[in-house]
Symmetry: C2
Subunit: 217 residues, 2 copies
């Protein structure tokens, strides 16, 4: 057992907290985050506030153009579509490779069990295990670069979710069933079928999100 500790710099701490507020929906799309405001809110210098903002901007969680304050991006239908299309591409490849090896990532089955264990009452609590399921597929390939790319996408997905906060999107049991189908196809080595399932799964999610988005503002 390794005891892990980690010392985070101030700009990291500030960045992480803002990220949290973004995902929690506390910072709604369009909100302006000036360096001065962030600096004062956290009691840090403008330099570190600037650094934190630029870090988040590089991650795609904030938008900013020169000489203007950073803003929480407002994701429109096109953005959601692109995010989910890109997700699909990465996950498809992951699934193909896993199916070729007929290897089902244990982390994925475990995560899906948690999805199913989620009471139907609280569908919000199911999004975290859901994310973990999908991430497990990509992580299983053990490719640092692919993983980094996928995780940056996940952040944007969380941003989408925050924008339609708490809205019940899909039936939890149905989601779990679809996940299981994908795993079954992988185990059977049927890449095309697995990809097909994923395609439907993500397309439905994307459509629901876009619909919820259109209803929100």
């Amino acid at each position: 057992m390794v005891r892990r500790i980690e010392a985070v710099s101030v700009v990291e701490a500030v960045g992480d907290d803002i990220r949290g507020r973004l995902f929690a929906g506390e910072l709604v799309g369009g909100t302006a985050l000036t360096e001065a405001i962030v600096a004062e809110e956290y009691g840090v210098s403008r330099s570190t506030a600037k650094a934190a903002i630029e870090k988040l901007t590089a991650e795609g969680l904030l938008q900013r153009d020169a000489h203007k304050p950073a803003r929480v991006p407002v994701l429109d239908a096109d953005d959601v579509r692109d995010v989910y299309r890109t997700r699909m591409r990465l996950e498809s490849e992951a699934i193909r490779e896993l199916a070729a090896a007929r290897s089902v990532p244990p982390a994925a089955t475990e995560a899906n069990a948690r999805v199913r264990a989620t009471g139907a009452a609280a569908s919000i609590d199911s999004v975290e295990p859901d994310m973990r399921f999908h991430a497990a597929l990509v992580v299983a390939l053990e490719s640092p670069r692919l993983e980094r790319m996928y995780l940056s996408l996940v952040d944007e997905v969380r941003l989408c979710m925050a924008q339609v906060q708490g809205r019940r999107l899909l039936d939890v049991q149905q989601i779990a069933d679809e996940h299981q189908q994908i795993l079954d196809h992988i185990a059977a080595g049927d890449a095309d079928a697995a990809v097909q399932c994923l395609h439907g799964h993500l397309t439905r999610a994307s459509d629901r999100l876009i619909a919820a988005l259109a209803a929100a503002p």
Copy 2:
């Protein structure tokens, strides 16, 4: 004809120049880039030097851990393999989608013409059109996020090339032929065959690079 101009900030300018030096092989792997050195070299303050370094670090072109100077990464065989595996994943997906639509990106055929036009004498001059060919496949999907991911990979590829500078890697005509095969399969709608070609194409390139890398130091 629109005359495009662009005003870049100082940190951008510094970052771009360092990037250029990295790609030119002027900064060899392992070199330490302290904030003070960069600041003095470009006659800027340490703050902006710091920002430039952090930007490049975020792009993966420099490595750095806390309280230590940034270093030009030394890419080993595993890195090259991962970069090319990831390339393959993104490009495979691109090819599949293009083949499904039987749409051959004009930019790709054009870039490949340039590859073929490269005299056999200067194989170094062929890497730029070669990159453009591969990038054209991904860009054709018109997905901002996928494109951004791919371009970050391209940067790492250029870093690899810089580490084995000028080494003749593959026969230019063979490369052009392989590209053409891929395009033909796309035109025919045969995704699997196209992916198969790409697989061989990139695997050969990766192997050559790794071999050259092993011979270099």
